[in-house]
Symmetry: C2
Subunit: 153 residues, 2 copies
C-alpha cells in the first residue's frame, strides 16, 4: 500500500495530480486509512502507469477515461460496444504510429546526413528531411531492386 506521497514520488508527479485524477474519475485509491489518508495498491499503481503512458503518447485525459471505462463498467457493456470503442482507439493509435515512424525516419536521416561537426548547418532541416524521406519512399518504389541496401520500414 502506498500513501499519496509515496505513489506520486514513484512516478515523479505531484500528489495534487493524483487528487486531480481522482476528482476526474481516472484513478481512485482502493482504500483509505482510519484517518482518511488515501491508500493505493498495486492495481492502482498499474492503472496510474497506464494513464501516464497514454498521456505521454498524446491522448487527452478524456480519451484515457474512455479507454479505462472499458474496464470500469465491464459487465454492463455489451462486448460489441467494447469492440467498437477499442477498434476506434486502435485506428487512432495506428495513425499516430505511422506519423511517428515517419518522424523517426526523418530524424534519423537528418542525424546521418548532418556532418556533426563545427560547420554551419546549411543543409540541416527537418522539413527538408521529411520532404526527402517522402521522395525516398517514392524512389524506393521505383528502384526496388536496391532494397537490400539499408532496408527500412
Amino acid at each position: 500500500m502506498y500513501r499519496i506521497g509515496e505513489l506520486s514520488a514513484l512516478y515523479d508527479i505531484k500528489a495534487d495530480t493524483l487528487r486531480f485524477y481522482e476528482k476526474h474519475g481516472l484513478l481512485s485509491p482502493s482504500s483509505r486509512s482510519d484517518s482518511g489518508y488515501r491508500l493505493y495498491n498495486q492495481d492502482d499503481s498499474e492503472r496510474l502507469k497506464f494513464i501516464l503512458r497514454a498521456k505521454a503518447v498524446g491522448f487527452s485525459l478524456n480519451d484515457i477515461a474512455d479507454l479505462l471505462s472499458i474496464e470500469v463498467d465491464k459487465s454492463n457493456r455489451a462486448c460489441a460496444d467494447v469492440k467498437a470503442l477499442v477498434d476506434t482507439k486502435l485506428e487512432q493509435v495506428e495513425a499516430k504510429l505511422a506519423e511517428l515512424q515517419h518522424f523517426a525516419t526523418s530524424l534519423k536521416s537528418l542525424s546521418n546526413t548532418c556532418c556533426g561537426g563545427p560547420d554551419s548547418a546549411e543543409h540541416c532541416s527537418i522539413l527538408e528531411a521529411l520532404e526527402s524521406s517522402d521522395k525516398h519512399i517514392i524512389a524506393k518504389q521505383e528502384h526496388h531492386h536496391f532494397s537490400h541496401l539499408g532496408h527500412k520500414d
Copy 2:
C-alpha cells in the same frame, strides 16, 4: 497562394489558430497582400502540415518550435548543435514509438479476445490486455525454463 481562410479550411483548423501560431513564432505567412491580408505559399503549407503532425503525436508547441528552429537558423548553428538537438528529439520519438507499439499490441489483443457479440464484456479490459501482453513477452523469453515464476519489471 492561400489566404488565411483557405489554408485553415485546407487543414480543418480555425483561422484564429493560424494567427495564434504566427504570434508564437511557429508559422508566418511568406507575404501579405497590398491590403494587409496574409498570403501563405506552398512552403508555408508544408510547414503547417509538419506542425499539425507533430502536435498529433503529442509534441507541445514548444517542442515543435525547437524542431523547426533547426530550419529557421540553419546557417547560424553549428552542425554539432543541430545533431545534438535532433538526437534528443529522436530519443523522445523512439520512446513514444515503443509506448505506442505496446498500446497497439494490447488493443489488438483486446479486440481479438473480445467476442464482439451482444454478451457482457466481463473479461474485456485494457489493463488486463496490457498486463497479459507484458506476461506474453515474459513468457516468450522464459519459454524453455519454468524455474523462476512471477518475474516482473
